[in-house]
Every structure is written in structure tokens, then in C-alpha cells.
């Protein structure tokens, strides 16, 4: 007569069902524990290897993601920035975002934005000096600026501030390619935001953000303006756009911010961050 309960291979039917069951549990318990001990021991020994592997995977993932982003950005058509129509298009793009500004702010912004874009398209120290200090009554210079300038053999004592900035400027670029400039931008990519946060993170992390792979900050000779500790009293305009530069064949985001100086009714350059893929470092 065939058994109604086929026995599993490896186990003979125990004489006592309970003791057999206990023996079986003990066997499985020991085996499971041995597997756990072995696994944990090996994982402990290979900890260093796991860290290296994780680092390798993260680097590969970052490189792949950068490639995907770059392919996406490079697919957009661009127009040269140094044309009047391009500047006009950019000014039109910021109009919806400044509806709540006062008339003085709007008028000043339209003027300054055109100057800032012209500067970025064709930088020179004189224009930079005018952008930063023209009709501005209060600004501070970081102490290290003077030290930096005095240290170069291009600087003599008795120079004016403008001459010092020019010397700083000249010391910044020694390559034959000349001063980096923004050569083109992607129409329709402009994003604008407004806020009171003076931190650098606010420049490329807010609503104007277009993302980035690595943010490279512009050079800062140290001309700064008073910032209130109360964010509500500060006024910054954050701008993000996809652009091309003279230093790279890629299209990638550039983020910059302008600060409102209420006393002087002027917008002044605050900070600029270019994506590392543009290899673009200017004075801002």
C-alpha cells in the first residue's frame, strides 16, 4: 500500500513525532545561524571593498547623469547674445516676473539688466566697475582685496580703485583665449525669481533654478553692499538661463543674481554661478 505521506529525502520518520520535530527545528536553526554568522563575518571583512564599490557606482552614475543632462541641454537651439534682439527678448522674458515691483524698481531693472547682459556678452573692467559702483553711495571692500592687489607686480601704490580693479582683472586671465564671455543663450529658457535671501545657495536653488552638474562661482574682487539681517528688507532678483560661452562648446545653465540698493535706486550685480561644463569663470 502506498504511503499516504511521502517522506522527505534525508529524514527517516522519527519514532516520536515531537522529538523529530524538535530535531528538525534544531537542525534548521543551526544551519540558519551558521549562514548568518558566515554572511556577517564576510561582510565585515569586505567593508573596505564595499565602500570602494559604492564610490565607483556613484561616480559612474554621476557621469551618466551628467551625460544625459548635457545631451538634453545641447539639443536646444541658441541665439547669439550680442545682438540687440536677443537682449530685448531676455528683457521681455523677465517682465511677467516683475509685475509686483515698484515703478522705480522696474525701470532700474530694465536699464541694469541690459547693461549686465551687455557686460556678460563683452566683459571689460571699466564696464564692471561702472556696474558695481556707478551712482552707488555705499559699498564695502573686503580687506583681502587690497592685499591681493598690492601683492601683484602690476599694482603700484597710489592707484585709484578703478585702476586696482583693472589690475585685478588683468591678473585673472593669462590665456590667449582672452576674457570668457557668454556667446549665446537658449530662448525660452530664462527663469526669474525674487526673494530676500543673500546666500549663494539661493542663486541656483530657487524657482530660477535650471539645475546644474557643478556650480562654479564667478570671481569676486570684494565689492559688496549692505545686507540686512532681516530677509524681508532685502531684495534680490535671481536669474537662470541656458547659455553658451566662448570657453566651451556645451550649453549649460548660468545663474546670477542682482541686488536692489533702495537708497540709490539701483540694481547691482550680486553673484554668478556657471555650470562647470561651460568652463566659464568671469568677474561678477
Amino acid at each position: 500500500m502506498a504511503s499516504s505521506f511521502p517522506s522527505d529525502i534525508g529524514f527517516t520518520r522519527p519514532t516520536g513525532a515531537k522529538s523529530g520535530w524538535l530535531r528538525r527545528c534544531l537542525y534548521h536553526g543551526v544551519l540558519l545561524s551558521a549562514c548568518a554568522v558566515l554572511t556577517l563575518a564576510v561582510r565585515n571583512v569586505l567593508k573596505g571593498r564595499y565602500i570602494e564599490e559604492r564610490h565607483r557606482i556613484e561616480l559612474a552614475g554621476r557621469a551618466r547623469r551628467t551625460g544625459e543632462l548635457l545631451a538634453s541641454w545641447n539639443s536646444f537651439p541658441t541665439v547669439p547674445l550680442d545682438t540687440g534682439s536677443a537682449v530685448k527678448d531676455l528683457l521681455l522674458a523677465i517682465e511677467p516676473a516683475i509685475q509686483d515691483f515698484s515703478t522705480a524698481e522696474k525701470d532700474a531693472l530694465r536699464r541694469e539688466m541690459a547693461r549686465v547682459l551687455s557686460y556678460l556678452a563683452s566683459p571689460d573692467p571699466e564696464m564692471y566697475w561702472r556696474l558695481k559702483t556707478n551712482q552707488v553711495t555705499r559699498y564695502t571692500k573686503a580687506p583681502e582685496v587690497s592685499t591681493l592687489l598690492v601683492g601683484t607686480n602690476r599694482v603700484r601704490e597710489g592707484l585709484s580703485e578703478a585702476e586696482r580693479i583693472s589690475a585685478y582683472w588683468s591678473a585673472g586671465w593669462t590665456n590667449a583665449a582672452g576674457i570668457p564671455r557668454i556667446s549665446a543663450f537658449v530662448p525660452g529658457s530664462v527663469r526669474i525669481a525674487h526673494g530676500g535671501d543673500a546666500s549663494h545657495g539661493a542663486v541656483f536653488n530657487r524657482r530660477a533654478s535650471l539645475g546644474f552638474t557643478m556650480a562654479v562661482r564667478s570671481m569676486d574682487p570684494g565689492i559688496h553692499y549692505p545686507v540686512s539681517t532681516t530677509p524681508d528688507t532685502n531684495s534680490f532678483l535671481y536669474v537662470g538661463l541656458l547659455a553658451r560661452t566662448s570657453t566651451s562648446t556645451n550649453t549649460a545653465p548660468i545663474h546670477f543674481s542682482l541686488q536692489w540698493i533702495g537708497e540709490d535706486r539701483r540694481w547691482v550685480p550680486h553673484a554668478l554661478f556657471a555650470d562647470g561644463l561651460l568652463d566659464f569663470r568671469t568677474v561678477f
Partner: protein
């Protein structure tokens, strides 16, 4: 009992499955990165992701050992089914994502440039394995109905042969 052509594969399949589990466990022990980071990419905290991978390794070694040694086969095959069902559910979830991560299964990471194709392959593989387990269980541990269905001479179960 007369040996059938399907008897030997049915006997050998548990061992093959056990070796597969042991291989998968070894791969995850040596290269846990893809499996761990796949879990992290679906918002599983890092500590939990590591613990889940560790548990998967322990379970695979445990079941692989049982299957290779052919100990308590009925239980081992049933537990293997449960484990594969869990893995299959996870792979199915990955295929529903817009950008699925590589699952890190069986060391096949990178065999496809598309992680979704990799997950679909894993899904198909697991479904096949589940069917083979079911087939093997029916051959190795036929039910009374199976025995009766085979009539007089084949009425004895394979295991008693």
C-alpha cells in the same frame, strides 16, 4: 516504479536551484553595491537597505545549502518559492518605474544598458524558476490525486522509488 524520462531532471532541479541561490548569494556578498543602491533609489533608508540585502544573502545561502544537500526538500522548495515570489514582486515593481535602477540580481548588472530590460529578464527568469519548482514539487511529491491519476503500476510516489 518505472523510471520516466522526467524523473532525473526533477531530481536534479533542486540541486541546480540550490547552486543558483548559492551563486547569487556569493555575488551579493562580493558586490552588494547595485542591490543596496537599487533599494536606496526607491527611498529605502540606507540602514534598512543594507539589512535587507544581508537577509537576502543569508536566506539564499540557507536555502541553497538545503537544496544542494537535498535536506527537507519539500520545505526547501516551498521556501524557495516564497523567496522567488518576493524577488519577482520586487522586480515587477522596478519595471513600473520610469527610470528603474539596476536590480543587482545574479551578477547580471551591466549586461543590458537598459535597466528596465534587465528587470524584465529577471522577471521572466523568476517566473520560469517558479514554474520549474512547481513542476518539480509535483514530480517529487505527487498528491494522492496525482498518484491515482497515474493508475495501478505508477501508483507509488517517485520518492518511494
Amino acid at each position: 516504479m518505472k523510471a520516466t524520462p522526467l524523473q532525473f531532471p526533477a531530481h536534479g532541479f533542486p540541486v541546480a536551484l540550490g547552486l543558483l541561490f548559492l551563486f547569487a548569494a556569493a555575488q551579493k556578498l562580493l558586490h552588494p553595491g547595485p542591490a543596496t543602491m537599487a533599494l536606496e533609489s526607491i527611498d529605502v533608508p540606507t540602514g534598512w537597505a543594507r539589512a535587507l540585502v544581508t537577509m537576502a544573502i543569508i536566506t539564499e545561502i540557507y536555502l541553497g545549502t538545503l537544496l544542494v544537500l537535498r535536506r527537507d526538500l519539500r520545505y526547501a522548495l516551498a521556501a524557495s518559492s516564497a523567496l522567488l515570489l518576493a524577488f519577482t514582486g520586487y522586480l515587477w515593481f522596478l519595471t513600473t518605474l520610469a527610470n528603474p535602477p539596476s536590480c543587482g540580481c545574479l551578477g547580471l548588472t551591466g549586461i543590458f544598458s537598459n535597466s528596465r530590460a534587465e528587470a524584465l529578464l529577471g522577471l521572466s527568469r523568476n517566473v520560469l524558476l517558479l514554474w520549474l519548482i512547481h513542476w518539480s514539487q509535483r514530480r517529487l511529491f505527487p498528491s494522492i490525486a496525482d498518484v491515482k491519476a497515474h493508475g495501478g503500476t505508477d501508483s507509488k510516489p517517485m520518492m518511494a522509488a
